[in-house]
């Protein structure tokens, strides 16, 4: 994953960024299936799931000034567990349920449940993503042109 913003070398922040990014990009169906029927820990909603957009920017000539490319839909949600940790989610698309689960996962990753949440939700999401990407990359690689020079028959 790219790391363009200063995380001040904070490994905790880097880890949080990684799981939040993974949840944001994950397909709704996978997140809901992996969360399953598990009961949510005691929590209160700081921000109920809210649907909105963000303006996606590009760069002129890939390296120059920013320009507005168009918006994308995102959904955000914030929760606080009764024992303190606050979880946030900003996820792609319009699924309020995915945003709610992502916020809970973010909060639970700051508790003793982190290890099991990581193993049961984040690792499978990361694996599914890696394998989907690998399949596309392998298909793309098969369409790479191997140039060869025609024998000119001069000798």
């Amino acid at each position: 994953m790219s790391d363009r913003t200063a995380l001040n070398g904070d490994p905790k922040q880097a880890a949080r960024k990684a799981w939040m990014s993974l949840l944001a990009k994950a397909p709704e169906a996978q997140v809901l299936a992996l969360w399953g029927e598990r009961p949510a820990p005691d929590h209160q909603m700081l921000r109920t799931p809210e649907l909105g957009s963000t303006m996606v920017r590009g760069r002129i000539g890939a390296t120059g000034n920013a320009f507005n490319l168009g918006e994308m839909t995102i959904t955000r949600c914030s929760v606080q567990l009764s024992d303190g940790p606050i979880g946030h989610a900003y996820v792609q698309g319009r699924s309020k349920e995915k945003a709610r689960i992502a916020a809970l996962v973010d909060a639970m990753m700051q508790t003793d449940a982190a290890e099991s949440i990581h193993a049961e939700i984040l690792t499978p999401l990361a694996e599914a993503r890696a394998s989907a990407k690998a399949v596309r990359a392998a298909k793309a690689a098969a369409t790479k042109v191997d140039f060869f020079t025609m024998a000119r028959g001069e000798d």
Partner: protein, 364 residues
Amino acid sequence: MYVAVKGGEKAIDAAHAWLAEERRGDTAIAELSVAQIREQLALSVNRVMAEGSLYDPDLAALAIKQARGDLIEAVFLIRAYRTTLPRFGATLPVETAEMTCDRRVSATFKDAPGGQVLGPTFDYTHRLLDFKLAADGELAKAPTRDAPQEATPHITTFLKQEGVIQTEVDTGETPRDLTREPLELPADRALRLQALTRGDEGFVLGMAYSTQRGYARNHAFVGELRIGTCAVEMEIPELGFAIEVGEVELTECETVNQFTGSKTEPPQFTRGYGLVFGQSERKSISMALVDRALRWEELGEDNMGAPAQDVEFVLYHADNIQATGFLEHIKLPHYVDFQSELELVRKLRAEAEANIAPQQEAAE
């Protein structure tokens, strides 16, 4: 002039009910699902996202279904929906150098690092109708090969190393946003690119084609065309750092264009840039050509009076929703306008006839 008129409610209700029936078509034929449109008419979905200026494949597919496949109507639905969404912010610029490429070709360098990767392209197909698609056919599996792990470098980086191409520098400026303020001239390049990327594909294509045919010709080479996915990062105020909030499929085109140099600059290539949501190759090449044509002033070129050099002409006519809104409104009732015109014509005719009559009498 528009005047409120009553009546017609029943007719309108009946028209909409019939529209719904026609949308569904023959009920003996299976109904299309939104997911089918999203998966199987992906390039239509991409166009609606690009011109609707909202990246959400499911919404675009729904709009296409609702619009009976009329893509401009679908774009209209997306634009209308977009205005209902609160905007949480803006993202960091996507880094296309880190794109996971499905396709990457260069028309300028055969042996560019990263190679020529064709991807799922229509190029080299014979454009013969494939009647096998009319029947349910078995699908052959696409072959695979070991893929490189590293990102594919941009072609322009090689030209930059040699100093023979103009560089694009980030000054950190916040771009103007035509969805938040009226599009006013002069328009800087960032604003022009926003207007072009959401502009009508047919219009931008026509403008680009005109430059190729000689109206402000600028000799474009496709330095690079790449299609793939990029992560979208956004600063989250609650966190104090940026996370990826999603990923988008993009098509990027960089053209390399002729430039003879100027008094202050040595000869070097100049650039046109296209970046569009989705797999939108024709649109992104067109955008790059028009972008380059619109740069004539900053590059010290002559104004040839060509349409593609006229920023007002291009930007004020590229938006198909503005265009179709104004165009189609003339079919709506203009009874009062027309009544006054009719009165005027009758009056003029009466006057003309009154003038002719005495002259005829005088002649006799």
